[in-house]
C-alpha cells in the first residue's frame, strides 16, 4: 500500500522530486497546510518580509543558478503582492514557480475572506497558470509547472491550490508522466535556415551579432563566443546579456540602446546584417523601430517564434534554442571554412575600432567634488570583480551596466523588461541563497532601496551576507534626469533626502553592518570595509552627485542616429 498523504505533503514531495532546495515565501491561512508539510521537509524555507520580496528572491535565485526559483504565498493579498515579481520574471524570461493558497473550492466565487481571483489576475503575467481544486491534480500540475517554467522560453508559472485540495488525503505514487500536446518547444533550428543564415553572414560586410538575454537563459555563452571568433563577428550585448561574452574580448562592443555606448549603438545602426540571438528588438534597444538599422538584413534566432518578426521583419527566421542553433551554425561555419577563410572585413573592424577610440565610455571624478556613481562602480568592480552584481532600476543601473567589467555569464542580474524598482535587494538575497560561495553585490538607488530594504532583515536572520551599495543621490535620479532634459527643470516629486533615513543606522537596525562614504577619498576605504565583513549583510552608502546624468542617451522613440553624448548635446538639440 502506498502511503496516504495530504495534498500539502504531496505538494512538498513533488517539489522535492523537482530538486527544489529552497523556497522563498510568506505563510497565511490558505497555504497553512503546505507550510505544515514543509516543516518536516529538508527544503529550506526563507521567510521574506513581503511577498514581492519572496518573488524577486526566487527570480534572483533562478538568474544566478539557472534552476527554477520557487516562491510561496497565501491567497488574496499574498497572491496580489506576487504580481509584480511574476510580471518581472515574465518580461525577463526567468523560470519561477509560484505556489499560492486559495480559499476552499466551495467558497470560490463567494467573496470569501482573502479570496481573490488569482488565476485571472496572474494570467497575463505568467507563461502559464493553474487553479487546482482537486488533490488528484497536484502531482501532474507540479510536474507540468516545472516543465513549462524551465523549457522553451523560460518564464514564471503560477499554481493556485485550494485549501481543501491541500487538506485532502490520497495515496502518493511518486512523480507522474505528463503530456502537453500543445507545448512542444523547438530545439534545433531548421537546417535549411541555418545554411541560409551562413550565406548571409559570409556575404555581409558590416555584420553585428546582437546577443540578448536568451543567450544566458540557454547557457549558450561558450557557443556565442566560439561562433563570434569563428566568423570574426563583433558582438553587442543587450542590458539583459551583459557578460554573455567577456567585456575584455576584442570582439565585444558592449551595450547598445538608450544608454548604450556610441560604438555598440552605431554599429547596429550602420550594419548590413544583424544576427539577433535570444533578443527581441526591445524599444530600449531600437529606439524608433522604423528608423532602426535601416540597411540591415535580419537573421533572428529565438526559441519563441512569436518574437520573430514581431517588431522587425526577419529575413532569415530561425526558431530554436540559442545553444543548439549556435552549435549548428558553428558546424556549418566549420564546413564553409574548408572553402576558404572567413571574411576579415578589415574596413568595418577599423571603423568600429575608430569609434571605440573616439567615443569611449568615460567619467571624471573630481577629487574635491561630489562622488560620481561611475567612480564607485569602477572601484567596486576593481575590488570585487568576480562578484555577482545585481542592480535596481534607474541611473545607477545604467552606470552599473556601462562601467562594470563583465567577464563571465550570469554575473549580472537586473530587471530589464519591467524595470522594477525594489528588485535589487531581494534578488541579491535570492542569488546569494543559491550561490553562497560567491560574493553578491547589489548596486541600488536610494529610491529603489526604500522600496524593499526590509528584506535585509530576512538576509540578516537567515545568514545571507549580501552586500548592498546604495547610491544616495537624494533623488529619484532617472526621473529627475528626464525632468531636467525634457521638463524645464521642474522637479516634480523626485526629491528624496540625504539624511532621512540615515542609511548606516538603518542598516544596523536591520541587523546589517552599515558604512557611509561622503567624499571621493572615502570611497575606497568604505568598499574595503564593506567587503571585509562577511558574517552579516552589509550596506555601503555612497553620497553621490544629485545632478549627474547618464550618457550617452537616445531620446525615447527617437532615432539611434541621434546619440546625445553629454549635456552639451542637449542645449543644441532643444
Amino acid at each position: 500500500m502506498p502511503e496516504q498523504l495530504s495534498g500539502a505533503a504531496i505538494l512538498i514531495r513533488a517539489l522535492e522530486h523537482e530538486g527544489v532546495d529552497v523556497i522563498f515565501g510568506v505563510p497565511g491561512g490558505a497555504i497553512l497546510q503546505a507550510y505544515d508539510a514543509l516543516y518536516s521537509s529538508s527544503i529550506r524555507h526563507i521567510l521574506a518580509r513581503h511577498e514581492q520580496g519572496g518573488g524577486h528572491m526566487a527570480s534572483g535565485y533562478a538568474h544566478a543558478t539557472g534552476r527554477v526559483g520557487v516562491t510561496f504565498a497565501t491567497s488574496g493579498p499574498g497572491a496580489t503582492n506576487l504580481i509584480t515579481p511574476l510580471a518581472d520574471a515574465y518580461m525577463d524570461s526567468i523560470p519561477v514557480v509560484a505556489i499560492t493558497g486559495q480559499v476552499r473550492t466551495t467558497s470560490i466565487g463567494l467573496d470569501a475572506f482573502q479570496e481573490t481571483h488569482t488565476w485571472g489576475i496572474s494570467m497575463p503575467v505568467t507563461k502559464h497558470n493553474y487553479l487546482v481544486t482537486n488533490i488528484n491534480e497536484i502531482p501532474s500540475t507540479i510536474r507540468e509547472a516545472f516543465h513549462v517554467a524551465s523549457t522553451g522560453r523560460p518564464g514564471p508559472v503560477l499554481v493556485d491550490i485550494t485549501k481543501d485540495a491541500l487538506a485532502d488525503a490520497m495515496p502518493w505514487h511518486g512523480p507522474v508522466e505528463i503530456d502537453l500536446p500543445g507545448y512542444r518547444p523547438s530545439v534545433q533550428g531548421h537546417p535549411r535556415q541555418v545554411k541560409a543564415a551562413m550565406d548571409e553572414i559570409l556575404a555581409s560586410e558590416r555584420p553585428v551579432l546582437y546577443a540578448g538575454g536568451g543567450i544566458l537563459r540557454a547557457r549558450a555563452s561558450e557557443e556565442l563566443r566560439a561562433f563570434a571568433e569563428q566568423q570574426g563577428l563583433p558582438v553587442v550585448t543587450t542590458l539583459m546579456a551583459r557578460g554573455a561574452i567577456p567585456d575584455s574580448h576584442p570582439l565585444t562592443l558592449g551595450m547598445s540602446g538608450m544608454h548604450g555606448n556610441y560604438t555598440a549603438s552605431t554599429a547596429m545602426q550602420r550594419s548590413d546584417l544583424l544576427i539577433a540571438i535570444g533578443a527581441r528588438f526591445d524599444d530600449r534597444v531600437t529606439g524608433n523601430p522604423d528608423l532602426f538599422a535601416p540597411e540591415a538584413r535580419i537573421i533572428h534566432i529565438d526559441v519563441d517564434p512569436a518574437e520573430i518578426s514581431k517588431i522587425r521583419k526577419a529575413d532569415v527566421p530561425i526558431v530554436g534554442d540559442a545553444k543548439a542553433v549556435l552549435r549548428q551554425l558553428l558546424d556549418e561555419g566549420e564546413r564553409r571554412l574548408k572553402d576558404g577563410p572567413a571574411p576579415t572585413r578589415t574596413e568595418w573592424m577599423d571603423t568600429l575600432e575608430g569609434w571605440r577610440r573616439d567615443f569611449p565610455l568615460a567619467y571624471v571624478q573630481d577629487p574635491d567634488g561630489p562622488i560620481q556613481q561611475q567612480y564607485v562602480i569602477d572601484e567596486l568592480c576593481k575590488h570585487a570583480g568576480d562578484a555577482i552584481v545585481v542592480a535596481g532600476v534607474g541611473q545607477h543601473q545604467m552606470w552599473a551596466s556601462q562601467f562594470w567589467k563583465f567577464e563571465r555569464p550570469n554575473a549580472w542580474i537586473n530587471s530589464g523588461g519591467l524595470g522594477t524598482m525594489g528588485y535589487a535587494v531581494p534578488a541579491a538575497i535570492g542569488a546569494k541563497a543559491g550561490m553562497p560561495d560567491t560574493t553578491v553585490i547589489a548596486i541600488d538607488g536610494d529610491g529603489c532601496f526604500q522600496m524593499t530594504f526590509q528584506e535585509l532583515i530576512t538576509a540578516a536572520e537567515e545568514g545571507i551576507p549580501v552586500k548592498i551599495a546604495v547610491m544616495n543621490n537624494a533623488n529619484l535620479g532617472m526621473v529627475r534626469q528626464w525632468q531636467k532634459l525634457f521638463y524645464d527643470d521642474r522637479y516634480s516629486a523626485t526629491e528624496l533626502s540625504y539624511t532621512n533615513p540615515n542609511i548606516p543606522m538603518l542598516a544596523e537596525a536591520l541587523g546589517c553592518a552599515g558604512f557611509r562614504a561622503e567624499t571621493p577619498d572615502e570611497v575606497i576605504p568604505t568598499i574595503e570595509k564593506g567587503l571585509a565583513v562577511n558574517d552579516r549583510p552589509v550596506v555601503m552608502e555612497f553620497v553621490c552627485d544629485p545632478d549627474a546624468m547618464v550618457f550617452p542617451m537616445i531620446v525615447a522613440g527617437g532615432s539611434n542616429d541621434e546619440i546625445l553624448m553629454g549635456p552639451e548635446d542637449i542645449s543644441c538639440n532643444t
Binding site: L131, V148, L180, P181, G182, A306, S309
Partner: protein, 170 residues
C-alpha cells in the same frame, strides 16, 4: 480585412479566457467567436473571425498558449462556413405576405409570429445571412441575435462541396 481561423484546444477549464485575455492584452480584435466540442472529447474547437493585419502575430501568440494545439487559417472559399441568426422584423399585417414571400427566397424560416412582428431563423453561409438582413432593413429590424461563425476546412478530395458552393451562388 477579416480572417477566419479555427483553433483546436485542449478541453480544459478557462481556455477561452486565456484566448480572449491574450487578444485583449495584445490589442487584437475578435469579430466573432464560437466554441464547441469536436469529434474528440478531450478537444474543443474555437472558430474565430478576426480583424486586422497582424495575422502572423495572432497565430503565433495563439500557439504560445499552452492549451492551444492547432491553429488553422482558412483562406477565402476554402472552408465550409455557417452562421445562425434570429431576426425579428416589423410586419405590418398589410405587408405580412410580402415579407413571408421574400423570406422564402432566402430560405428563412418564420419561427414566431406576433401582432406586428415576425421572427425568422436563418442558417447558412455568412453572406446569405447578411443579404437577408440587408433586405429586411427596409421593413425595420426590431431585434437581432446572431451566432459566431463555425467552419470546417473543405475536404481536399471532395468535389461535392465545390459544386454545392457554385449551385448556391448561382
Amino acid at each position: 480585412m477579416q480572417h477566419l481561423i479555427t483553433v483546436t484546444v485542449e478541453n480544459q477549464p478557462g481556455v477561452l479566457a486565456r484566448i480572449t485575455s491574450m487578444f485583449a492584452r495584445r490589442d487584437f480584435n475578435i469579430h466573432s467567436l464560437a466554441v464547441g466540442p469536436t469529434e474528440d472529447p478531450t478537444r474543443s474547437r474555437v472558430t474565430m473571425v478576426v480583424d486586422g493585419p497582424e495575422m502572423e502575430q495572432i497565430v503565433k501568440q495563439l500557439y504560445k498558449l499552452i492549451h492551444v494545439i492547432k491553429v488553422t487559417e482558412h483562406p477565402q472559399g476554402e472552408a465550409i462556413e455557417r452562421e445562425i441568426m434570429l431576426v425579428r422584423v416589423h410586419a405590418d399585417p398589410k405587408r405580412r405576405s410580402e415579407i413571408l414571400n421574400a423570406a422564402n427566397i432566402f430560405d428563412a424560416t418564420a419561427v414566431d409570429v406576433g401582432a406586428s412582428t415576425i421572427t425568422f431563423e436563418v442558417v447558412g453561409e455568412p453572406m446569405r445571412l447578411s443579404d437577408f438582413l440587408e433586405f429586411m432593413k427596409t421593413y425595420g429590424i426590431v431585434s437581432l441575435a446572431k451566432s459566431g461563425r463555425i467552419a470546417l476546412a473543405k475536404d481536399a478530395k471532395s468535389q461535392n462541396t465545390k459544386q454545392k458552393q457554385t449551385a448556391k451562388g448561382a
